[in-house]
């Protein structure tokens, strides 16, 4: 704390350009960060990987409190590993590619809050050639890491800055939404109140592999807590010790994927009636409203992995979720809140439109307000309609990236049938008016660029598109039918080459009521799609 | 030698022709087809195929007349040698030109259209070679001997020999003095007969003449009705 107070110790976020603060090792599995999901693809390529990239961004503004380095760092990562069964852009850019088993070659569980079933994955065949399931891959990596860590790392104490957490008393850390900054002397630095919690964790790096394969002591000591409900799982641990077997230290074994599946099913209220009932009883005491009957019909039921293998299993209503499947109902969000008056996880315990945090007030958004798209021209100097260097017409349009019907993100879009039924490569949908303005006919090659990058694709001209907006569906990678661009002479980018992350300040609010942090991901919020792009017709002769 | 060429070769070819067709009919119904490629290339086919086929029908008709109908019969109905020669040469040349032009177009099509080329089998290549040779030899014979040259009365020799082979009274001696070009044409034709059952040419026997009197809509049962009870 003294180090922090004196300024000797700073938060890494205050100087992301310091090599000591670089992310060094990135493992991408079940994802295509560099070919699909990473917003601001070209920034990833240049700054994270140090690869060729097409950004031409000239930032004018400078932050007041974060250290600014004129030369932005390039190539921060030391190691990029991809675990996949497709040669996506992520795999192509990776230092190491580990071949992954596919869905029908491993044990796993699948479910979604959008339908009331839990499913098993089962291996129809063993993973062929050198592929491995993700589970086995990570266990292998953990073992190797553990062996090396015994010499290089041993036991260490790690000090973490842990964010104030949603569904905990941390939500009351900043009453009234008044923000005070201890760095500016507006208040005392108090971990867990005016700053993150400082937590010391004992790391035994040589034991990582062993620990991955077993359930540690904390489940028994602390229970499992989800959304402020703590579950006591003693009987489940006993059951799992029996079902899964134990390790040398007497811990429940998670040595194989199906054992992990068994553990997940045993420890979740949605598949273990005893736990869901227990959770509701805990909530009843807290809220004073009748809830336990929601799970009562299934209190004695425990869904095993074998059950899910014989057929999809309907889930049990449980406090982790807000819907009710009781009596065979189908999921709908917030049913328990509405029908049983269970308080909402908000400041008022009700649905509320009025938000009173300092930063939200500053943005003028205390009540839902219409916000027009950001004026990218004014903020970032993006150009207007006009002509390009050769006198060819250009048009500047809103750029949107809706989800594709030919893929799940970038999965399946490279499948021969999907390519046959769509147009066999990346396309940009545009309106009749915009196409006419730049002399583009249906299926003509066009280039779209902005300060973030450049894309080459064929145009789909349709009267369904409103003038002034184009779509490039999410997602096609850059590895199917993507030529070199005229603008850069390099391979055209992916749809996210024209985007970048724009953090809305109000999304950084923490430590206050329903704005307090919970682990998830920063998704495509509205302002991400205020992007604009310039489109021109290019030479129809393409080279690859 | 004479016996080998004009008795042995024909009977071997005929045997292969017959046995080969029986085998092919029984064993390879699935492969018994025209192997149409019109969908892949239609421009050259539009002209080449009718030319080739109609020309071939005419040429075959001429062969039936010239080989199978005895001279005595034609003379009995008042067609003398000169008239016969006139008709056969003019009609034959026209037919021949149609066949050559048609085959030329079809060959060009198969060579220049990448789509069609890729459907070509080994049997097709052998067939094209043999059929082209046979036609080329036949055209040379007709044009060289009977149109531009003095004329050769093949009905006195080749036709008689041919009918002799079919009626199991072969006389190889008849072919001894026949001009080389005709001999080669005949041998080439026997080769064609021998390979016929193994090529796409079998589609000829499926000429759908019966379509002319068949009811339009065809029904089939999986099993006869009576057994159903």
């Amino acid at each position: 704390m003294n180090e922090l107070r004196s300024g000797n110790l700073r938060f890494a976020a205050e100087d992301p350009g310091d090599p000591a603060n670089f992310p060094r090792v990135l493992t991408v599995w079940r994802a295509n960060l560099l070919g699909s999901s990473g917003k601001g693809n070209e920034y990833f390529l240049r700054h994270l990987l140090g690869a060729d990239a097409e950004t031409r961004n000239q930032e004018g503004l400078r932050p007041a409190e974060v250290t600014w380095r004129e030369e932005a760092a390039e190539g921060k990562l030391d190691l990029l590993t991809a675990i996949d069964f497709r040669m996506t852009s992520t795999a192509l850019f990776s230092d190491v590619v580990l071949p992954a088993a596919t869905w029908y070659e491993k044990h796993d569980l699948s479910s979604t809050d959008m339908h009331p079933f839990v499913h098993a994955f089962n291996p129809a065949i063993a993973p062929p050639w050198q592929t491995r399931s993700d589970y086995d891959t990570f266990l292998s990596l953990a073992d190797r890491f553990s062996a090396l860590a015994a010499d290089h790392l041993g036991r260490r104490t790690d000090v973490l800055a842990v964010p104030l957490a949603h569904d905990t008393p941390d939500e009351l850390a900043q009453p009234g939404g008044r923000v005070r900054d201890w760095k500016h002397g507006e208040c005392e630095p108090v971990p867990g109140r005016t700053m993150p919690r400082i937590v010391a964790i004992e790391r035994d790096y040589a034991a990582v592999g062993e620990r991955m394969r077993s359930i540690g002591p904390l489940f028994a000591e602390l229970g499992l807590t989800t959304k402020a409900v703590t579950y006591r799982v003693g009987p489940e641990l006993d059951y799992l010790a029996d079902k899964n077997g134990t390790t040398g230290e007497g811990r429940v074994s998670l040595a194989t994927a199906d054992r992990m599946c068994e553990a997940i099913l045993a420890l979740s209220g949605t598949t273990n009636g005893r736990l869901s009932t227990q959770g509701f009883e805990t909530l009843e005491k807290r809220t004073g409203t009748r809830l336990a009957d929601l799970a009562a019909e299934h209190e004695g039921r425990r869904i095993t992995f074998a059950d899910t293998q014989s057929r999809p299993q309907p889930v049990i209503t449980s406090p982790e979720w807000s819907g009710s499947e009781t009596g065979g109902r189908r999921y709908s969000a917030f049913v328990i809140n509405v029908e049983r008056d269970k308080p909402w996880h908000t400041l008022t315990g009700r649905q509320q439109f009025f938000l009173d945090h300092d930063w939200i007030i500053e943005l003028g958004e205390q009540l839902p307000a219409y916000r027009p798209p950001l004026n990218m021209r004014r903020h970032y100097g993006e150009q207007r309609d006009g002509a390009d260097g050769d006198g060819g017409a250009e048009v500047t349009v809103r750029y949107l990236t809706p989800h594709s019907k030919w893929s799940i993100h970038s999965e399946y879009q490279d499948n021969a049938y999907m390519l046959a039924l769509s147009r066999g490569g990346p396309t940009i949908w545009m309106s009749v008016e915009d196409a006419r303005a730049i002399g583009v006919a249906d299926n003509d090659w066009i280039e779209a660029y902005n300060r973030n990058g450049v894309v080459v694709a064929r145009a789909i001209v349709s009267h369904r598109m409103p003038a002034g907006t184009v779509y490039m569906y999410h997602a096609k990678d850059r590895n199917v039918n993507v030529p070199l661009t005229e603008r850069s002479g390099r391979r055209g980018g992916v749809h996210n080459s024209l985007t970048r992350l724009l953090l809305k300040p109000s999304h950084l609010i923490g430590g206050y009521a329903q704005f307090t942090y919970a682990f998830n991901y920063y998704g495509p919020t509205g302002n991400q799609r205020d992007e604009i792009t310039v489109i021109r017709r290019r030479a129809q002769e393409v080279t690859y | 030698m004479s016996v080998a060429l004009w008795v042995v070769v024909p009977y071997i070819a005929l045997t292969i022709f017959v046995v080969g067709h029986v085998w092919r009919w029984r064993v390879d119904q699935f492969g018994w087809t025209t192997r149409t490629t019109q969908v892949l290339e239609s421009r050259l086919l539009r002209l080449g195929s009718p030319l080739f086929h109609l020309g071939a029908f005419a040429a075959i008709g001429g062969h039936v007349l010239g080989l199978l109908v005895p001279k005595s019969l034609t003379e009995a109905v008042g067609v003398d040698e000169h008239l016969y020669h006139l008709v056969s040469v003019s009609a034959g040349t026209v037919a021949g030109l149609m066949v050559v032009a048609g085959l030329g177009l079809l060959l060009a099509r198969r060579l220049t259209s990448p789509r069609v080329r890729r459907t070509t089998t080994r049997a097709d290549k052998v067939l094209f070679a043999v059929i082209a040779a046979t036609i080329a030899l036949g055209m040379s014979a007709t044009v060289g001997q009977n149109l531009l040259g003095g004329g050769y009365d093949y009905r006195a020799t080749i036709a008689v020999w041919f009918r002799g082979v079919l009626t199991f009274h072969p006389d190889p001696g008849l072919m001894a003095g026949v001009p080389l070009i005709f001999q080669l044409h005949a041998l080439s034709a026997w080769v064609l007969a021998a390979i016929w059952p193994f090529t796409r040419l079998v589609h000829v026997w499926s000429a759908p003449v019966a379509y002319l009197w068949r009811p339009y809509v065809v029904y089939r049962r999986r099993a006869p009705l009576g057994v159903r009870r």
């Binding site: 039924l421 009749v432 | 052998v126």
Partner: protein, 516 residues
């Protein structure tokens, strides 16, 4: 009266979202082979659009289907028997591969094997026919979601024939998806045009098939089908078509396209029909009378006389019972919401469609639009986004009254169910205006909206007790071997080899030139 049975299908276009699952599952089952790369037994078109193959609905160009001659007799539009044989050498009405599309494949291996270079590796489209690099300029589904519509859709024959011209403007946009399979017609033009007699209609269930052992590749069927649902396999040189998944139908299972339909919009069931009445129905002079004429060919399975005649014709009891439960009979005959596709082709198609409702074009100022009750579209039925004339051009030979009647029934059903569910009231006036009882309305709702699996698919299994039929199974599949959908390839070593069914074959039948 000669009673026969047919398994028929209805598709509810109100629910089709154009996901193309049906196309992909059918293709994966039946046409994922060399020779039929460009073939989609099931395809889904966005309408308005020229479809697949391009402008197939223009029979003035393609001469598909039947027409009446001057004396009112049926004749194939492409000509009579003599003309057919004369055209044997080059079929003037046959579509080219480019009317469908040149199928592409991709060199996926390049991504793994590419050498180090200045650019990220990329795979390029190559023709699946020739193996060469190709540019993609058309496809099996080019116009999906109205892509390219301003340029191509005006050539849609149904659109072009409309008296009131459609302007492709942003706020007047309309579209729907039209999934299509073979219609398995009662009066099939393809069967009639087949010179070799290899094509046939099955007596037991009406499924139309190509006998792969008898087809000689005359390709007259391909052009005669007005729906263009018979295709040339360019490797085998024979015709192939939708089989209505007859191996599944015989087992009492739905077709693959129906089973996998995400939207639960397909229905399968029996229709008992009078085979003796088929030609007479196809011959009615006014095309707009074809709908009712075909309905008269269908027999009422609850009528004791029909049941008696069906039994006498050898139709078994469980089939008669299935016909009585048939969702097709209910949709096409009882509720009359299903309509045939292009009845004017006179083939008496057996895959019918329920036309889609669409939003009222201009809800604020539209004629008769009821601002208080959004479901009350009765007076606005002529103002829906999808022009009545367009739907009529597809499903009723231009008779807009028929289509309007169906759409009114569907919107009445919505309004009725809304009143029942939300207010708990029974809208008697709605029932009266469409001439249905409450029970009927709710049954129609259950069938269309809830669409339970075993109410959608009522397919009786074929009877296996015939020894002859059993022996037919032992002959194996005529499609095993090179080019066919059989499981194994014919790869003999040396000159001869055994095919999968044990027959001896010569290696010269194997296509030279490598694989695509």
């Amino acid at each position: 009266m000669r009673v026969m049975a047919q398994v028929a299908m209805v598709m509810n276009l109100d629910k089709c979202i154009g996901c193309h699952t049906c196309s992909v599952t059918c293709k994966q089952t039946w046409t994922n082979r060399d020779g039929v790369e460009y073939v989609w037994f099931n395809n889904v078109e966005t309408k308005p659009g020229v479809g697949y193959p391009k402008r197939y609905e223009d029979q003035d160009r393609w001469h598909g289907g039947w027409q009446l001659d001057r004396r009112g007799r049926l004749k194939l539009r492409a000509g009579g028997r003599v003309k057919r044989l004369l055209n044997l050498f080059s079929n003037p009405d046959l579509a080219d591969l480019d009317d469908y599309y040149e199928p592409a494949t991709y060199d996926y291996d390049t991504l793994i094997n590419a050498p180090a270079g200045p650019h990220t590796p990329v795979i390029r489209p190559k023709s699946a026919i020739t193996g060469r690099d190709m540019a993609i300029t058309w496809g099996a589904n080019w116009e999906d979601d109205l892509g390219g519509a301003p340029e191509h859709a005006p050539a849609d024959p149904v659109l072009a024939a409309m008296a009131e011209k459609v302007k492709m403007e942003f706020d007047k946009t309309f579209m729907f998806h039209l999934p299509r399979i073979c219609e398995h017609c009662l009066n099939p033009a393809c069967v009639a045009a087949c010179p070799s007699g290899a094509m046939y209609k099955r007596e037991e269930d009406g499924i139309v098939l190509v006998d792969q052992n008898r087809c000689r590749g005359w390709r007259m069927c391909v052009s005669s089908c007005p729906y263009k649902k018979v295709y040339v396999n360019h490797r085998t040189g024979k015709a192939e078509k939708c089989t209505f998944c007859f191996p599944r139908i015989e087992a009492g299972q739905p077709t693959v396209c129906a089973e996998t339909c995400v939207g639960r919009l397909r229905y399968l069931g029996l229709i008992l029909y009078d085979a003796d009445a088929v030609l007479e129905a196809a011959r009615v002079p006014d095309p707009r009378d074809l709908l009712e004429a075909q309905r008269r060919v269908f027999l009422d399975p609850s009528d004791p006389e029909v049941v008696e005649a069906a039994r006498a014709a050898g139709i078994s009891e469980d089939w008669i019972a299935a016909a009585q439960r048939s969702p097709i009979y209910r949709l096409a005959m009882r509720y009359r919401v299903a309509l045939p596709l292009h009845p004017e082709y006179r083939t008496l198609p057996m895959v019918w469609y329920i036309p889609p409702l669409s939003p009222v074009l201009d809800a604020v100022t539209g004629v008769g639009a009821d601002a208080d009750d959004p479901d009350n579209v009765f007076h606005a039925i002529t103002d829906l986004r999808i022009p009545l004339e367009y739907l009529a051009g597809l499903f009723s030979a231009g008779d807009t009254e028929v289509v309007a009647g169906v759409l009114m029934k569907l919107s009445a059903m919505r309004a009725y169910m809304r009143a029942r569910t939300v207010d708990g009231t029974v809208a008697e006036d709605l029932l009266e205006s469409v001439g249905m009882t409450a029970a009927e309305m709710e049954e129609l709702y259950r069938l269309l909206a809830i669409a339970k699996y075993d109410e959608r698919y009522v397919v009786p299994a074929a009877h296996r007790e015939d020894a002859a039929a059993l022996s037919a199974q032992a002959d194996g599949c005529s499609l095993d071997g090179d080019g066919g959908p059989g499981m194994s390839d014919f790869h003999p070593a040396g000159v001869t080899g055994r095919r999968t069914d044990g027959r001896l074959g010569l290696k010269i039948f194997v296509r030279d030139g490598g694989t695509a």
